[in-house]
Amino acid sequence: MEYRLRIPIPESDVRKLKIGDIVYVTGTMVTARDQAHRRALALHKEGKPIPIDLRGGVVFHCGPVVKKKDGGWEIVAAGPTTSTRMELFQAEFIEAFRPSIIVGKGGMGPRTAEAMKKFGAVYCDFTGGAAVLAAKAVESVRGVEWFELGIPEAMWILEVKDFGPLLVTIDSHGNSHHANVAKIVEENRPKIYSMLGITSK
């Protein structure tokens, strides 16, 4: 199935999404990598707010290439970064801020998948490295927060139009496309070992 969704995305819409679905999103989206996740959770722990309400929002694991333009910013290239690094924070982050969609590449682990099931969120893959393609969907930069973390790690607030195709690879029903691929790879492992003449355990 293919869906075009507007941010913020209500939980009822997120719950409809299944692994293998294609999604395009329109609205205000934020980037967050390791440092932004860490800071957001630290603020939450102190009972302080973060700069933007992420309820129903889209969080993009991305550190863009940016250029200063007319007193603002232009996004030059903005593909996803490896999401597994955010596994350290994602479950708590979802519980604290309740975003609807996490976008990245490479998949995430069981703790994130569990949080997604519990709180109603999905993880989507955008083709890694396809940075110019991704940047084309960014209509404007609404702002940047935590700039002192450096350009890649700052939180960029982006207005996007039909950002996608995003492939749902972890849904809110406990299914993970990544886990399914990993299972196939494990099944292939003994065959590969014998191909290579590896006899050890």
Binding site: C62, T81, G129, V132, R189, T199
Partner: protein
Amino acid sequence: MVDAKLVEDLAVDLLRLAAIELPSDVKGALEKARGQESSDIAKANLDAILENIRLAESMKRPVCQDTGLIVFFLNVGHDFGSVKGVPEAIAKGTKRATEEIPLRPNAVHPITRKNSGDNTGAYVPILNWSYVEGDYLEITAFPKGGGSENMTFFSMVKPGEGIAGIKKFVIDSVISSGGQPCPPTIIGVGVGGTADLAMKLAKKCLLRPIGQRHSDPEIAKLEEELLKAINSTGIGPMGLGGNITSLDVHVDYAHCHTASLPVAVNTQCWAARRATARIYKDGSVEILSHRR
């Protein structure tokens, strides 16, 4: 003595070429991979990659937002003359390239994580020097992405395990990487030497064009066997399942201590960026990696 401004300008040009336009062997291999995939997801991901490559070239933008930690390989010809001032010129070129192309500033202090803002810092840009016959200075810009560099593995395999031990370590490394290094990847394998040399060989292998085999037939055979095995895992483009997990495997070796068998694996993403040029003694410049 080499003209420092010439080196600085060339460093900017090479970083621009590398960031924006992939070498033709990489593009050809990705197109071939598209033809070898059968699942919709694998095909869609390779289509996005190929479309992105075309867009980057036409819009003159970096092909990937991770424009890498800045690495150069320098081959100094014995008859070239002094290379005094070259490191400073390359650092200046790196700062300019960051501003002008632009590149993403990626160099941070390892403990404080403070970003230097200009892609330079302690030991960065990283310069790898070699000495060769000739009257030229050959410079390769090799910006290295973080996602693929994170998929680096090293093991002191037991010599008693032999070649099966090497193969197992490589295949286990690739399987544990899964989709994280942006497959289809190129796998560099360094065997032998000391730990640091094995790692250096693994990285240097990644400079070799796709499809070019090692001159030693035994090593060439190992490369082909490993490639076939890796492409039987089912990891596929972006780790989302498929037939092509790696575009090539390059292996190089050094003699090692009789007690040791070091094996290093360094991974390169599909955006396998490199650009090479020579500065000759007479001051002329020749771009080798890209047709101009």
